[in-house]
């Protein structure tokens, strides 16, 4: 191999700006996913079919199509179908947020189903109404149980957020593509960018591993 590396040509200014955009996308999408995923999970589990079926369709659709298709669809079709023109950042957040909502809803559902039967019996015996039961009994237990999966999904969306570069949102990946083309230094640029993504997601996945181990210890 006769390639001479030149990491000097990787300018960190644009990459830093890109990383900020990527993090903004990730955090905003996670807020949407964590907050709205829970009611969606309740809808999926509802006994009332007209509420359950659309919710299930929504979740299955987001889980069974590629994220890139969803994002491209969102950017091209939403403005045409609904005649709304939002900034690319807002669109990116919404596309990623809806995707994460579907995945988090599944995580919440598993956690809700794992809430012990006795707790529900007890809450009925205490005369709590369904709303109180959901808010004070199911929600706290289920949210705590689903934290590892929510975090894993959160890193997932951090990685998926690289896809918005394809529809020209100026995130880390987009800046990397521009920089690589401008400097003719793809190896250095993409290696640095891969390391940046890794540096963010690796610690989070370690935390997930730690939380899961601790949970298993508590359970056993």
């Amino acid at each position: 191999m006769d390639y001479s590396f030149d990491f000097q040509s990787v300018s960190f200014g644009p990459l830093w700006e890109g990383l900020i955009v990527t993090l903004q996308l990730t955090i905003a999408a996670n807020l949407i996913g964590i907050v709205f995923g829970f009611p969606l999970a309740l809808l999926i589990m509802s006994r009332f079919a007209p509420a359950r079926l659309p919710a299930m369709l929504f979740v299955e659709f987001f889980r069974c199509t590629p994220a890139i298709v969803q994002i491209v669809w969102f950017f091209y079709c939403v403005p045409m179908l609904f005649n709304v023109f939002l900034g690319s950042m807002t669109m990116g957040i919404m596309a990623l947020g809806l995707n994460l909502m579907a995945f988090n809803a599944e995580a919440y559902r598993a956690a809700i189903q794992a809430v012990p039967r006795e707790q529900l019996d007890a809450s009925i015996a205490l005369g709590l109404n369904p709303l109180q039961r959901t808010l004070y009994i199911v929600l706290p237990t289920a949210v705590r149980a689903s934290i590892p999966v929510l975090l894993t999904n959160g890193i997932g969306i951090f990685q998926q957020s690289a896809l918005v570069a394809i529809v020209a949102v100026q995130d880390l990946m987009y800046q990397a593509k521009t920089l690589a083309t401008e400097t003719y230094r793809p190896i250095e640029t993409f290696t640095v960018v891969a390391l940046v993504y890794f540096a963010v997601s690796f610690p989070v996945s370690q935390i997930v591993g730690y939380l899961e181990r601790r949970r298993q210890l508590i359970m056993s």
């Binding site: 890139i68 298709v69 491209v72 990685q159 998926q160 990397a176 793809p186 190896i187 993409f190 993504y197």
Partner: protein, 221 residues
């Protein structure tokens, strides 16, 4: 605006070609990726620290970076480093196989871990050689337990394969985007593309649930 889905029918052959590319890519990478994943899974549980460290770095790196970045790296950097031209298909296969290898090695590792120590004790008591332990005791159980998760890994791979459109491989997504750009009918074309992906992936996810129930019943846990 008026929607006219009949426009998609005019391009059904192109879409079929794209779909075939997507399926071909997925199948090749499933086979290669699962074999790679199993060896890496074994390496991660091996007694040699070097082997363990190397395989962990590989897995963590591929799980910790976006697949899009991996694809770009392999498409643009690998040919420069190796000094040879790689065809689109080869680069795509390399990238997705490495990705599939990383995620399925985790699956195999988890299933290897779930095989109780009493099984190994029994192997020792029966004085089975290491090779027989692996091929006749560990492998069948590990694979059986891994099947449901492997299937859902395959669904992920099928979905991630749409990323190769970003580097110009003519898969279903690429063909769909091309048609939608040329006809200025993104709503119809992209919706149909999304539906095609859905129609394939959805039954597979149902199959995962079914297989899971079967496997659990068979293992009686």
């Amino acid at each position: 605006m008026t929607l006219d889905f009949s426009i998609v029918l005019r391009f059904q052959e192109a879409l079929a070609l794209g779909l075939w590319m997507t399926i071909k890519l997925t199948l090749i990478c499933v086979v290669l990726g699962c074999s790679l994943g199993f060896s890496i899974g074994l390496a991660r549980t091996s007694r040699s620290a070097l082997l363990r460290a190397a395989s962990s770095i590989y897995v963590e790196f591929f799980r910790g970076t976006p697949v899009l970045v991996q694809l770009f790296w392999i498409f643009f950097c690998l040919p420069l480093i190796l000094g040879v031209e790689l065809s689109n298909l080869t680069s795509g296969v390399i990238a997705l196989t490495l990705y599939m290898g990383a995620i399925s090695s985790e699956t195999f590792r988890a299933s290897l871990k779930s095989i109780g120590p009493e099984q190994l004790d029994a192997c020792v008591a029966l004085d089975l050689p290491r090779r027989v332990q692996v091929t006749s005791v560990i492998l069948p159980q590990a694979v059986l337990r891994a099947v449901p998760t492997l299937l859902s890994n395959c669904v992920s791979l099928f979905k991630e394969s749409a990323l190769v459109s970003a580097v110009g491989m003519a898969d279903l997504m690429f063909v769909g985007q091309n048609i939608s750009n040329n006809t200025a009918r993104p709503v119809e074309v992209l919706t149909v593309v999304a539906l095609i992906y859905f129609v394939i992936a959805f039954p597979l996810t149902r199959a995962v649930t079914l297989v899971e129930r079967r496997v659990l019943a068979k293992l009686a846990i």
